[in-house]
């Protein structure tokens, strides 16, 4: 057991965890923030994507102890009073159906828009599709996810 401390969605949290505990299990089971999902066991699907110190990471492929002292944002921490433009864009464009991959899609979407803005690059459809390589959706065929991220990129 190791004591880990981190900031999750702006709140300081501290807990004893087994060293083998995955960050996603810490978030879901210990913090009971169940919006972060697990859709595979080979780091492919991206349902578990959270932001660690501002960048997207797969919380199923990271130990909670490795995130000691980190600043974590999960899907529950994205909105303030209003929905984040990315969340709103997914609703506007029917970018989700069953909703299971959606938290990871939104976290990856925000990350890619932030990076492209920082680098001054244009996030066109081809770029969005390439950037979504690590997020699998089975419902939407990605068509409306691409539209959603594109809309949010214009609003963020």
């Amino acid at each position: 057991m190791t004591t880990v401390s981190m900031t999750v969605n702006g709140k300081a949290v501290s807990s004893d965890v087994e060293d083998r505990t995955l960050l996603v299990d810490f978030i879901r089971e210990q913090l009971r923030l169940t919006g972060t999902h697990v859709g595979c066991d080979t780091s492919q699907c991206g349902a578990c994507v959270v932001h660690v110190n501002g960048t997207a990471m797969k919380s199923c492929t990271m130990l909670a102890v490795s995130a000691n002292d980190a600043d974590i944002t999960t899907i529950e921490g994205v909105a303030n009073d209003d929905l984040h433009p990315m969340q709103k864009a997914f609703n506007d464009n029917h970018g989700l159906q069953c909703g299971f991959c959606t938290p990871g899609m939104i976290m990856s979407g925000i990350d890619m828009v932030n990076r492209y803005k920082a680098e001054g690059k244009k996030l066109d459809e081809t770029a969005i599709r390439h950037e979504l390589e690590g997020n699998i959706c089975r419902c939407t065929g990605y068509h409306n996810i691409v539209k959603s991220i594109s809309q949010a990129a214009g609003e963020m």
Binding site: T2, D19, L22, S43, T61, L63, E119, E133
Partner: protein, 265 residues
């Protein structure tokens, strides 16, 4: 995942000492291969020594055309390094297409090189660039380092601290991703400089990354894609699986090599 004990190393020496004190310890860098392997219960180290924050294993130094990359440097950092891009854009492009954005934010060059996955991208770059693998005890030439699928010249407890190489005058990496995993089904790194042309191939060979010396010879006399037209790749030395048989991989080796040469200009 089996239970394990986690240690965070301050630097390479600290990591070496932690590792030597462990019963069956292993280094944890980005963990993008190791953690899925542990989740699948295919690896069960008693101890994990996390080198992602090891101070002397991080960072990028570009001096003239000599590039040194700390082992714990992430793929995203390499992909985004304007210093490296100025002298060796091919390795930035390679890094930018490893895994996916979230994986690139954690996975490291040292982890990739140490694991020597036969479908990993970096080993091809190291071999083609004639890189030097720096460890906590010595320097190893890439030609001696990669000794077969998942096998390297590293001794028990030896830790990669960084890699260095001279940026080639021309270089490019052409990757054909496995449709499912997106690892390389065939990746060809071509580097051409004062010392001649080196061609290294990952993903396709039945014993991991290898140099295509016949291609190198052909390109040394004529650095153009057409110089490879007359060569044939022996399917007997290629991997075969549900995604493609050895004949297909042999074809990919040639096609990707030509594309890499064209990309290198």
């Amino acid at each position: 995942m089996h239970n394990t004990t986690y240690h965070k190393a301050r630097n390479a020496a600290d990591a070496a000492s932690l590792l030597s004190g462990a019963e069956d310890g292993t280094l944890l860098a980005g963990g993008q291969t190791l953690i899925p392997t542990m989740k699948a219960r295919l690896a069960a180290p008693t101890d994990l020594v996390d080198v992602s924050g090891a101070s002397d294993m991080r960072g990028i130094i570009v001096s003239g055309n000599r590039v040194t990359i700390g082992a714990a440097t992430t793929h995203a950092e390499v992909a985004g390094s304007s210093e490296i891009r100025a002298v060796c854009p091919s390795i930035c492009d390679l890094a930018a297409n490893i895994g996916d954005p979230a994986v690139r934010n954690r996975g490291t060059i040292g982890g990739s090189v140490a694991n020597n996955d036969p479908a990993a991208d970096y080993p091809a770059a190291m071999l083609a660039l004639g890189a030097t693998i720096q460890t906590n005890t010595r320097e190893i030439a890439a030609d001696e380092f990669f000794t077969g699928m998942f096998d390297t010249a590293l001794d028990e407890g030896e830790i990669i601290t960084g890699v260095s190489f001279t940026a080639p005058a021309k270089g490019a990496y052409a990757k054909f991703p496995n449709p499912a995993s997106r690892y390389a089904m065939c990746g060809v790194f071509v580097a051409s400089g004062d010392a001649g042309t080196r061609v290294a191939i990952t993903g396709a060979g039945s014993d991991g990354v290898f140099r295509a010396t016949d291609m190198e010879a052909a390109l040394n006399s004529n650095f153009s894609a057409s110089a490879l037209d007359g060569l044939s790749v022996d399917a007997a030395n290629m991997l075969s699986d549900i995604h493609g048989d050895s004949a297909y991989r042999a074809n990919l080796v040639k096609v990707m090599a030509k594309r890499a040469v064209t990309g290198a200009g």
